[in-house]
């Protein structure tokens, strides 16, 4: 697209959303040109870009109409917390931020929220809480937006009990690249009319349509919640405990695996202190339920299993302050490591093979003489491995990544469990998908977006 084309539509865009909401100066859009992907692997943004902030679905539709007519690429962005460059505008075009579309209405009778795509995860959690309800998963950073969470089918720590983002979405309002508005699904819990386009769109990473609104399922607030921190000397003991816990009938919200170095580092980064200083390998388990008795009963069950696997002790955080401190430190492992990070991987294997995967990761680390910090959603077999700058150069980092991917696939797993493909994982797609599979994906893209204007990324 010649840059003059973009310039000719700026006045039209101002006509649609109002002058205030069209930003053309580069220095005012810096934070829309990047996401949380570590610098070394993040794609470079294009030069000629315009940032538009619509306030309604109609405005989104009008913007897409102009873009489609003039063949101008459009990049939907959410909270820009993605870790694979998904929202980075890599071609000259329009950056579409729905941040002003952030209304949330809670429907207590149906235990659902109707949220506009620009509302943040933090706002949804709070709206549910204010209505006396609960949005159980914690599928990412709280600055992520509903649109982004759905577009990436985000997972997160608390997916064990109620599942990933997909399990919460009941209905979607979307705008197609050809500007039509569609409502998919709704407030019913069951719906069997034809191919399920809604499920296809969840996880489509802004390549099929723009999500403008969603019906999201909420749950009753649990009466009682605790967080256990369980230290072990050996990783194998910690990881062996996980399948046993899940088999015992106890259903935790989250089972997280961390190693002492990383939590101590994250705590230092926040000027906090991690409550359990012993044990190389630690499990963090969040449990909820209707009463203290019920939950402590489950804790005893977990305690028996972990003690049989040589747990050093079982610590319990009951106050909401202590629990949020643990969660905040855990959530900041990533930010603490980020300055020295080259890439964050998101491999996933069947939960029972997590230990094998971690041993392989260690072996790969020693082979290249680097430390590969790793932690993960142990209950889901989802491991985040960090490649750090000590890898030396890009070439080595890429080799480490490819070898870890190969191991994950060998163990029956896949290359990404929750972060998605974005713009930096396409090169590895052939490792997991057949040519026929890729063909089908390309055809689907063409049906939705015949002119390839929406988040083009060259599949």
């Amino acid at each position: 697209m010649p840059s003059s084309t973009l310039n000719t539509v700026i006045e039209d865009l101002k006509g649609i959303v109002g002058e205030r909401w069209v930003i053309t100066q580069r220095e005012l859009m810096e934070s829309y040109l990047r996401d949380e992907t570590p610098d070394p692997v993040r794609p470079k943004p294009a030069e000629n870009l315009v940032l538009v902030k619509p306030s309604s679905t109609e405005e989104v539709s009008l913007i897409l109409k102009i873009a489609n007519d003039r063949r101008i690429p459009v990049f939907p962005v959410g909270g820009r917390t993605g870790l694979v460059g998904g929202s980075v505008p890599t071609e000259p075009g329009i950056i579409l931020s729905l941040e002003r579309m952030n209304r949330i209405e809670v429907d207590r009778d149906n235990l659902m929220a109707v949220a506009e795509a620009g509302a943040t995860l933090g706002e949804l959690i709070k709206a549910a809480e204010d209505a006396g309800l609960f949005f159980p998963p914690h599928p990412g950073d709280e600055g992520a937006q509903i649109g982004g969470l759905i577009a990436t089918n985000a997972g997160g720590a608390r997916a064990i009990k109620y599942g990933v983002m997909r399990n919460y979405v009941r209905g979607l309002e979307v705008v197609l690249p050809t500007s039509e508005v569609l409502w998919l699904g709704g407030k019913t819990l069951k719906n069997n009319v034809g191919y399920d386009l809604m499920q296809l769109i969840i996880g489509s990473e802004g390549t099929l349509c723009v999500i403008t609104k969603a019906v999201i399922r909420l749950f009753p607030k649990s009466k009682y919640m605790v967080t256990l921190v369980i230290p072990f000397n050996k990783r194998s003991d910690a990881l062996k405990s996980v399948p046993a816990i899940l088999r015992s009938g106890v259903m935790p919200l989250a089972v997280e695996y961390v190693q002492i170095n990383e939590v101590l580092e994250a705590a230092r980064h926040l000027n906090e202190s991690w409550p359990v200083q012993r044990g190389f390998a630690q499990l963090i388990i969040i449990l909820d339920g209707m009463s203290q008795e019920e939950v402590l009963g489950a804790c005893e069950e977990i305690s028996k299993i972990c003690e049989a696997n040589n747990a050093l002790d079982i610590f319990l955080a009951e106050t909401s302050e202590e629990q949020s401190r643990i969660l905040r430190i855990r959530s900041n492992i990533y930010t603490a490591l980020k300055p020295n990070m080259v890439d964050i991987l998101d491999v996933t294997v069947p939960p029972s093979r997590l230990e094998e995967l971690m041993d392989e990761v260690d072996a790969i680390g020693s082979k290249y003489g680097v430390y590969l910090p790793a932690y993960g959603h142990a209950g889901d077999g989802n491991l985040h491995v960090h490649i750090m700058k000590d890898a030396g150069n890009e070439h080595v980092a890429k080799k480490i990544k490819d070898e870890i991917y190969e191991e994950a696939i060998r163990l029956g797993g896949t290359i990404t469990g929750e972060h998605g493909l974005g713009k930096i994982r396409l090169e590895n797609l052939q490792m997991v998908l057949s040519e026929k599979h890729l063909d089908l994906l390309r055809s689907i893209k063409r049906v939705f977006d015949p002119n390839n204007i929406l988040n083009p990324r060259g599949l």
Partner: protein, 251 residues
């Protein structure tokens, strides 16, 4: 060394709702928790409050307290800081031997920071408030670092003494599950007004013994942000911002 820790049960402050129109607060959605500053100060626990405060004392036991006493009686209700301090000091006298009394710096509800120093006065022992670090303890003294505005003071107190501690003094340890379960079965000693009558004058208990009265409460500013635009030439803008700073007494 015998340490007595004074603990108050308070609402989870982030869950209390403040109604700016009616000037009321709604504690119904908030669970009860240990005053966070008190968690930093724990060995043997005494609390004055309703029977519900038993939960908190059990938590104190799980975190390492050997013994817990709850002062609970209708006669104690409605106490201000003076009456609270008087009642607590009566309980400490009844316990008898102690070397150190530890309080939190202040509560998140009443928020006065007065109870600790008043208890010390009633017990006629030295005290230091806002202790952020305990430097040394021996059989007859304790040396602490206490915060006053932009300075810290290193102070030695002869024992028995009272200190109030800030959240910097330590990181409250997490209880183990085993201790938690044990604590749930530990009985809590409950003392009423009759138990304290032998060491104190009941006229100074509770609402009757309280010299201060809360006449009314209201929420200071409506939560919504003003969102006022300041525009003009740079000099005008500067004047307007300075005006705002002056109005808010930061200049």
């Amino acid at each position: 060394m015998n340490i007595i820790v004074l603990m108050k049960q308070v609402p989870e402050i982030e869950k209390v709702r403040f109604d700016p129109e009616k000037g009321r607060l709604d504690r119904s959605s908030a669970g009860a928790t240990t005053n966070p500053f008190d968690l930093n100060a724990l060995e043997a626990a005494v609390s004055m409050g309703p029977m519900k405060a038993e939960e908190m004392l059990r938590d104190a036991i799980a975190r390492g307290a050997d013994r817990a006493i709850l002062l609970s009686d209708e006669m104690f209700a409605g106490a201000d800081t003076l009456a609270t301090a008087y009642t607590l000091s009566a309980a400490i006298k009844k316990i008898g031997s102690f070397d150190l009394v530890i309080c939190g710096e202040k509560t998140v509800d009443g928020d006065t920071a007065q109870v600790g120093p008043e208890v010390a006065e009633f017990l006629n022992i030295p005290h230091v408030a806002f202790v952020e670090e305990i430097l040394q303890v021996d059989s007859c003294s304790i040396t602490v670092k206490a915060r006053m505005e932009r300075s810290s003071y290193i102070i030695r107190l002869s024992l028995p003494a009272l200190i109030t501690v800030t959240k910097d003094v330590n990181n409250p340890r997490l209880p183990t599950l085993r201790d938690k379960l044990r604590a749930m079965r530990t009985p809590i000693t409950i003392w009423g007004y009759k138990d304290l009558a032998e060491v104190a004058d009941p006229r100074y208990f509770g609402f009757e013994g309280s010299p201060t009265r809360v006449v009314k409460v209201y929420t200071p500013t409506a939560e919504r942000r003003r969102g006022q635009m300041i525009s003009g030439q740079p000099e005008e803008i500067a004047q307007k911002i300075v005006q705002v700073l002056l109005e808010n007494k930061v200049l």
